[in-house]
Amino acid sequence: MAPEPPPLLTMSGITKSFPGVRALDGVDLEVQAGEVHCLLGQNGAGKSTLIKVLAGAHQPDDGSITWQGAPVQLSSPITAMRLGIATIYQELDLVEGLSVAENVFLGHEPTTAGFVVRTREARTAAAALLRRLGHPEIDPAREVGDLSAAHQQIVSMARALSHDVRLIVMDEPSAALDPDEVDNLFRIVEGLTSDGVAVVYISHRLEEIRRIGDRVTVLKDGRAVAVGLPASSTPTRDIVAMMTGRDVEYVFPPRPAPGAPRATTQPVLTVEGLHRRGEFEPVDLELRPGEIVGLAGLVGSGRSEILETIYGARRPTAGRVQVAGTPLRPGSVRAAVAAGIGLAPEERKAQALLLTESVTRNVSLSALSRFARGGWLDRGAERTAARRATRELSLRPDNPDAAVRTLSGGNQQKAVLARWLLRGCRVLLLDEPTRGVDVGARAELYAVIRRLADEGLAVLLVSSEVPEVLGLADRVLVLREGRVVHQADAQELDEHRVLDLVMEGSPTS
């Protein structure tokens, strides 16, 4: 081959921090024209932040970007789009009330005299794009809200192609697709690359990357741990090792000696035939005091849904939940909390915290009435109790007045745990407890969770990081597509076995 052409895109040393979290820490990425460059990494590794920088939606704190040999600043999404960078996000950014053609040409409609939209021309052009994408059956005049998820994705892609695009970023495009549709997606990607367009492809599914990828960049905790590996020849084991970061030793607290009173005690949480149509199949589950049970599965396997249904935040189609033998009113968070269940939800900031409020106010939120007589708060007692809980978890800074927003991810999670510690619950549901928490702080969180269990709490843990589930839980349930496919003692499983179970049945295997 001729000497290697200059890369289409070079990002170097990209750094981006959010309050409390360093999302990107000097990431490099290099993309050639006409290649499929795969971006791999676990949740929270920094993939989303990186593509938002690339799309001009986030401004990096540091680092440089070179586009076709010239340094550029992607100061806004429009700038990125003008250069020919298009992004297809996981959450599609379509306007549901507008037609397919209107969505495709949103912001750059073909017009007469600058403002009269030439509807027919837009529809013809949209139809041509849809044909190119292998979906001539989508009517450009239809409202986007009426289309299936797969077709909406095609529309999103047509919108990207309606610009003179040189690079398309696809964020987990196959997540919402059936196997046939994935095949079509791959045909589209091949068509694009043969036209010289570069594709940055994000997926959790390794076998997809083998099929269409040229090179792979692996992100882990905001750093690129491998840049530009050959997609077809790098052994899976190496890739998994880089993603899961085996080199970073997870420090898990020791489990209590086997034969501890666990087997003899009554279960504190009993779930029988719990079921939510379209989300997960009937689940049976027992949790005893002192026990940590892990749910392993991919995004969309129903793990968070199960947790939220147990907690009453979602109403089950069938089945029931009992705490210490007493059935809970279904679909009532208040009943669950009153019975002693606590939840540390997946989206800590969106679902658990009042970010601008103080640590004390966040921690006391679930037990407010305990500090009140006739609705009147005893703020001294509240503060003392909150402080006791946060100190027990060594939350830092040890300042009850600090706004939760200013804490690091790990300490924000501790604030959530302290809330339930203060409330005094018997069952703790943890959804991705270490998301956005850096490695050092994780070990501390693991120790806290184990200690809470040793003190008699029953813990149900959901995590997409398999080593976390295996290292922390006593017993593991593996979920795939809303179904429990395997159940075993954590010590009897290893990471590869779980990954096999979790990914089995994905399109190409």
């Binding site: 921090s17 309050p19 409390g20 979290v21 360093r22 820490d25 905790d221 907690y311 935040a313 968070v333 208040r334 669950a336 909390v337 009153a338 939840l343 939800p345 969106a350 679902q351 658990a352 915290l353 009042l354 970010l355 601008t356 409020e357 106010r361 939120l365 679930s366 407010l368 009435s369 009140a372 609705g375 009147w376 708060l377 703020r379 830092r396 800074p397 040890d398 300042n399 007045d401 600090a402 706004a403 927003r405 200013t406 804490l407 690091s408 300490n411 809330r419 850096d438 490695v439 050092g440 702080a441």
Partner: protein, 349 residues
């Protein structure tokens, strides 16, 4: 406000990032401290604006403005809208909005002054005004909390219906109040140490509002619902019931304000409380309450009311037309919200 500096430096991505310079964490810390300060500064700056206004009034119309009677008038005029604003502030802090306050004041004031009601005297008028306010608030609350309606729409519908009902009751006529004990409360004889009773009611509602917001579980839950309704729900708070209570509270304030207006005007009219919703919301906003919820103060809202009322008074004394007043009001709202936006942005990154 008095956070010790060292604690601010503990946070930040220190661990695992030895290369991270010391500057970013401390910058973050100062940002949060500044946010805490700025909220207070904003109240202080409103106080400053008020002081400037008093100075302007004192200089342009030294005799008329600083006259005891005029100061009493300003406070009295502020009282009615002030009580309404306290209720609206709670609703806005919870992330809602109440567009129906003016209409609720009108409805309560005409219902409480019908001939039939007036037969029951002072107690009948007060009772009716409060109950009508509560009932309208209950309807708002039920529609929003349990009917799943957007607050804007539900209270807009209440605005239209309550005004219509008020017109139907009065047939467009002014209902003169003949109950002496009610009318007496508006006369200088009833002033306590030179303070009109209406101003005392306003002060009492302000103090009660402050205590409820800052010292009770109700206030805490209000802030939680407005700051992050999903988090509040998942923490086990009954978000719907809280919302219902909040619109009831707003209705109650309107009932009280209606009674005050009856005392002040000696009558009930279906045009009472016209555009109170805009004045109350504007006062809360310039007082630093976030329209998106989760943050706000009673003091700020009360200062906002006083600023608006004082401006109106000064303009009237200087024989400036209401068009100029309106323009000035608009400019103040814009300036206050621009300050608010800067504060917010400073808090985010």
């Amino acid at each position: 406000m008095t956070q010790p500096a060292p604690s601010a430096q503990h946070q930040g991505p220190g661990k695992g990032h030895p290369s991270a310079p010391a500057a970013p964490p401390s910058k973050q810390g100062s940002g949060s401290r500044a946010l805490g300060l700025r909220v207070d500064v904003r109240n202080l700056s409103l106080l400053g604006v008020l002081a400037v206004l008093v100075a302007v009034g004192g200089i342009t119309e030294p005799d008329a403005f600083l006259d005891t009677g005029n100061l009493q008038l300003i406070l009295t005029q502020a009282s009615v809208i002030g009580v309404v604003t306290v209720g609206v502030t709670f609703v806005i802090i919870s992330g809602g909005i109440d567009l129906s306050v003016g209409a609720m004041v009108a409805l309560a004031s005409v219902w409480a002054t019908t001939l039939a009601t007036q037969e029951y005297g002072f107690a009948g008028i007060l009772f009716t005004a409060v109950v009508v306010g509560l009932a309208a608030g209950l309807v708002n609350g039920l529609l929003i909390a349990y009917g799943g309606m957007v607050p804007f729409i539900a209270t807009l519908a209440m605005l239209a219906s309550a005004r219509g009902l008020a017109l139907q009751i009065t047939d467009g006529k002014t209902q003169i109040v003949t109950v002496r004990s009610v009318l007496d409360l508006g006369l200088p004889d009833s002033y306590v140490l030179g303070i009109p009773p209406l101003v005392l009611v306003f002060a009492a509602v302000t103090v009660a509002g402050w205590l409820i917001l800052n010292r009770t579980t109700f206030g805490r839950r209000t802030v939680a619902v407005g700051g992050n309704a999903e988090a509040a729900r998942l923490a086990g708070i009954d978000v719907r019931r809280q919302r219902l209570y909040l619109y009831l509270l707003s209705g109650l304030c309107c009932g009280i304000a209606a009674f005050m207006l009856i005392i002040l005007s000696g009558s009930g009219q279906n045009t009472n409380g016209n555009l109170y919703e805009l004045d109350a919301i504007a006062a809360a906003i310039i007082g630093g309450t976030l329209l998106s919820g989760g943050r706000g103060t009673i003091i700020g809202s009360v200062l906002g009311v006083l600023v608006f009322t004082t401006i109106t008074n000064i303009f009237a004394l200087n024989n400036l037309q209401s068009d100029v007043q309106q323009i000035a009001k608009g400019a103040i709202i814009v300036a206050a919200v621009l300050v608010q936006r800067r504060t917010l942005r400073g808090g985010e990154t």
